[in-house]
Structures are given as C-alpha cells and as structure tokens.
Symmetry: C2
Subunit: 181 residues, 2 copies
C-alpha cells in the first residue's frame, strides 16, 4: 500500500474537488492510503521562516513521509486556486529543502464548466517543472462536474466516468512503481 | 491626480517588489497617488462569504474607489505568488460583482534572476483576461533586481533603469486616460 498525500484545492465544505478526491480514494483502495493534510496555511511570507508556523512544519513532515502526491484542483479564474500555489511555495522552501523533489505526482481536476479545469492544470504543470518531481502525463483528468456527478460518499453516478477514474488510479499506481527506486 | 491601488505580491519586510513599487511611486508623483491595501487576507474560501472577513470587504471598497490598479509581482516557482492569486479571486467574487471589471490595470515585476518575473507575469496576464480589465500591454517591465538596484526609499541606482521606469509610469498615466470614460 502506497501512502498518497492528497492536496485538495478547495477549502469549502462539500466541494466538488473534495468529492472527486473521495471518489478516487474509493476506486483505488487496493493500491493506496489517502491522507488529506490541512491546507489552510498562512499566505506564503519568507519572513515567517524565522519562526515557522506549526502548520507548515507539519505539512513538510507529512510530505517527507509520503510515497506520492495527488493534486485535485478546481479552476479559479483560469488558473489554480491560491491554496494550491500556497502549498507548493511553502513545500518548495527553505532553499535546497524542497519537499517535492523526486516525488511521484499526479494531477486531476474538475470544474462545473466545459473546460474541466484544463487551464488551471496547465498552469500547475508549468509550475511543478521547477520542483523536479516525477509528474505523470496521461491520462489527463478534466472532469466536468455536474450537480449529481459524484455524491458526498464519493460514489460516481456515471459508469463510464467511474471506469475512467479507476483507470487513472491504476495508471498512477503503476507510475509510482516505475519512478520509485 | 489618479488614485492607484498598488498590489505588492510579497509580504516580507523590505521586499524587492515593495522597493520597485516605491520607486514607481516616486517617479510618478506628478500623475498618481499610490495606495497599498493590506493583502494578508484569508485564503480564498467560498464559505466565508456567509460572513465576509472585514479585510476582504475593505479591499473591495478600496477597489471600488480606485481609478486604476498596478500589480507589482515577484516570481515564485515560475508563477505569481499566492498573495496575488488570492487578491484576484477575492476581488472577482461574489459572482457578478467583480471589483476588477473595467479597471485600467498595469503589471510590472522583478526577480533576482535573469527572467525578471516574465513567467509570473505571463500567468498573471492570462488570469486577468477573465476579469474584463483594461490591461496595458507594452512596455513590459521585467526588472532584474540586483542587491543595490533600488534602495528602501525607492531610489533607483541606474540612470537607464530610472528613465525606463519613468517612461512606464508616463505610459500608464496615458493609458488610464485613454480607457477611462
């Protein structure tokens, strides 16, 4: 069983991203243990390293102990939400002590509109290049989230979507084995 | 005199972005009054609109009363810092009540490396498209910030840089007049 740190980009209760993460968790129970760190960190401020917030140190300890990272991002104004950029920037520092280096990483996302978070994911991929991660390419998951697509328990309504999401988790499990030495 | 809301992307004391903003303020005193709102807002969370944070309401009131907006961005991991995405997302909501619509907007930025924040600014431009702003194109300011480029009082060491920054503020002043009806 691989430990997966799941970074859900929305802080609101009952978010689509939270439901999508839950769905992936259920579909991949044979491979993975999902962990959901608290992402309500202070906004990145270099000065805070003088006396680092406990929440930031906990996040970095979580990342140090994880086998892989899965981003589950909504799209806010054609990019990632601040919560995602914030966790990346905290994890990337202090200089030379990035928590991301050599981690297997997957990206999935959803939005209510037709774009399915593709613009956000494009920004996210370009940002992660800086962190020297093992970033899974295909399949890409641009999940168009209709009101009943996934319920609070992570049950996926449509059988085709369920199969596709399952295939994503299977591929991510393979990917982790390929790049983890 | 035009009121300019200046959004400085770094929260640390004595940041390069803060110095760059100060330099532009000094060079444009004939045109502008600069205002620096507090950007240490909570991370964007849709649920908080039920009881909006005072800091968010203050920001939106500031933006409603301003003539134009100037982003001064550093580059964190080849994109904008979370503080910049966060202020954009708060300003863009509630739905239909964007604080950015029809505002004249300028973007400048700096980084210590050769890129001069160009990757961050590229993301920022693509995000601002969603907000229906009047975004100034050229000149682009990718300021490579060496330790002594600009001091705490906003004095620019190099004469060529000073002239270039002054020309930027002159053009931004023109731009505001062109697009403000």
């Amino acid at each position: 069983m691989r430990k997966i740190t799941v970074l859900v980009g929305s802080l609101r209760e009952g978010s689509n991203s939270g439901k999508l993460a839950k769905a992936l968790e259920k579909l991949s129970a044979e491979h993975f243990e999902f962990h959901y760190p608290d992402l309500n960190l202070p906004l990145y401020n270099e000065d805070l390293w003088k006396n680092p917030p406990a929440s930031v140190l906990k996040l970095k300890a979580d990342l140090a102990a994880t086998d892989a990272v899965l981003f589950v991002t909504p799209e806010y104004n054609r990019s990632i939400p601040p919560v995602i950029k914030n966790v990346i920037d905290w994890g990337s520092r202090p200089w030379g002590q990035s928590s991301w280096k050599n981690k297997p990483v997957g990206i999935v996302g959803s939005s209510p509109g037709a774009v399915g978070s593709a613009a956000a994911q494009s920004h996210l991929r370009s940002i992660l290049v800086t962190q020297d991660v093992f970033l899974l390419g295909a399949p890409e998951v641009y999940f168009v989230f209709k009101p009943d697509s996934i319920d609070d328990q992570g049950t996926v309504a449509d059988e085709g979507s369920k199969k596709f999401l399952k295939s994503y988790t299977d591929r991510f499990a393979q990917w982790i084995e390929i790049v983890s030495k």
